[in-house]
């Protein structure tokens, strides 16, 4: 047996050949979970279920004087998120900024989540951030949702997400060992993870 210490880097290296998805679920199951989750949080689903023949979920919630609107679509894996971003941009041009936008996915491997967001000089990560699009990881078995990317204006969601932290998964990863540390070290850390 090797005496070399098993590090988190080794663990991540071993995770690399894993499939895209942690669990296999159909798009319909994910869509149903997202709708269930929205009802769970207190949203009312609106009749609009398609947009350019694309199945979407669209819901509203009113709290005092504030109206919250959310629209989302389902993609099967991280490979399809870029296409989802393009589709959401089209919809956003029509609906505007007041609506929040979500791409719902089945449970993908965190490894792939990071890899795809970082590919092409973090293109996907930047696209998601610049357009304020969120990613939801929906688990139909647990009927739970986690938001690793994006922050929603409706803070009520925080109480219902499976994990309270989130919003900027890459950022959190980069900050983990040295909160408030140096930017160079953070970059080094993320680069190190990706070796």
């Amino acid at each position: 047996m090797s005496e070399k210490k098993f590090t988190s880097k080794d663990l991540l290296r071993q995770l690399r050949p894993t499939p895209d998805l942690a669990y296999e679920f159909s798009n319909e199951e994910v869509l149903e979970t997202a709708k269930y989750f929205l009802r769970y949080v207190g949203y009312t689903l609106e009749g609009r279920e398609h947009w350019d023949n694309e199945p979407v979920f669209y819901a509203k919630r009113r709290e005092g004087e504030t109206n919250y609107e959310i629209l989302g679509l389902v993609r099967h894996s991280m490979k399809e998120v870029a296409d989802g971003v393009a589709q959401l941009l089209k919809i956003k041009r029509e609906l505007g900024e007041k609506t929040e936008y979500v791409i719902a996915l089945p449970p993908v491997q965190e490894r792939h989540l990071i890899d795809y967001m970082r590919a092409d000089d973090q293109k996907l990560y930047r696209d998601l951030r610049e357009n304020a699009f969120s990613i939801w990881i929906c688990n139909p078995h647990e009927k739970s949702v986690w938001c690793p990317q994006g922050v929603l204006r409706d803070k009520r969601f925080t109480e219902y997400f499976k994990v309270k932290f989130g919003g900027d998964f890459l950022g959190i990863l980069a900050n983990m060992p040295y909160r408030g540390g140096r930017a160079k070290d953070r970059k080094q850390f993320v680069e190190g993870l990706m070796e």
Binding site: Y40, E142, K143, S144, R156, Y178, G181, D185, F189
Partner: protein
């Protein structure tokens, strides 16, 4: 008299090594830490100013030593004593780990959890959708009581998830059961398997799972989640959550002893 060799040895014991040092038999007259730096990988680098008596009198020079400092983490031992009630009298202990019937177990957990919540200023409210309902400052606590962790227990948990959908995340939700359910037909292994299988789901929906020590109704162990906003209650659970492994060990010992003796009597 401290020599350079002693300094080298003391630092080596801590995991820090010098690259260049003068002869080991030279006598050290003073030493200061000039700079200390811990790398992101956890390695320590220390610059020392060492004064020593050389051949031409006292010499002062800077030396770098580095390595990974082995630090022992001091974890305070958990407090074994059951947290005392703040306002009410403690409930009387039972003599045995066993329950005669489900009814007895349910009655016991009902009394124990009600006592804890009353002690923390909750008042019982009327509500038919859960087995018990308490309220404090308009925040509700919905509780379902189960004799054991099985399919019907999961059903009761599902009912709490539905209640959360109806009444929102502002309220608390909990599933309460006896800590040791062997006399009711579920072994400790099965109990733990149930918690492993469904714990994540219940935590995702913020459903707390609480178990009551079969002998001591004043000791309630939290699993999955517990209310953090209520400081008194949170403080109680922070203490009891650490006591669970000890209680579990005690029970396993008791069970082994009982099997050895082939009797059903419970130790004091």
């Amino acid at each position: 008299m401290t020599t350079i060799g002693d300094v080298k040895e003391i630092f080596a014991r801590k995991g820090l090594y010098f690259e260049h040092l003068p002869s080991e038999d030279l006598i050290v007259t003073g030493m200061d830490v000039v700079e200390r730096y811990i790398t992101p990988q956890g390695n320590s680098k220390v610059v020392l100013n060492i004064k020593y008596r050389g051949k031409k009198g006292e010499v002062s020079d800077l030396f770098l030593c580095e390595g990974k400092v082995r630090r022992r983490k001091r974890v305070p031992p958990p407090i074994e004593e059951t947290p005392k009630p703040l306002k009410l009298e403690a409930l009387p202990m039972r003599q045995t780990f066993e329950f005669e019937s489900e009814k007895e177990a349910i009655g016991y957990v009902r009394e124990a959890i009600s006592h804890l919540l009353r002690d923390k200023d909750y008042s019982q409210g009327k509500q038919r959708e859960s087995d018990l309902y308490f309220e404090k400052l308009l925040v509700g606590f919905f509780l379902n009581l189960i004799p054991r962790f099985d399919e019907s227990g999961l059903q009761k948990a599902q009912e709490l998830i539905d209640l959360r959908m109806k009444y929102g995340s502002e309220n608390n939700y909990g599933l309460v059961a006896p800590a040791f359910q062997e006399s009711l037909g579920i072994s400790l292994l099965q109990q733990e398997h149930w918690l492993r299988s469904h714990g994540e789901l219940l935590a995702a929906h913020r459903i707390g799972v609480y178990t009551i020590n079969n002998k001591n109704p004043n000791q309630i162990f939290p699993f999955t989640v517990y209310p953090r906003n209520d400081r008194d209650l949170a403080r109680y659970f922070i203490q009891t959550v650490q006591q669970w492994p000890y209680m579990r060990d005690k029970y396993v010992e008791y069970r082994a002893e009982r099997e050895k003796q082939g009797t059903l009597s419970s130790p004091r």
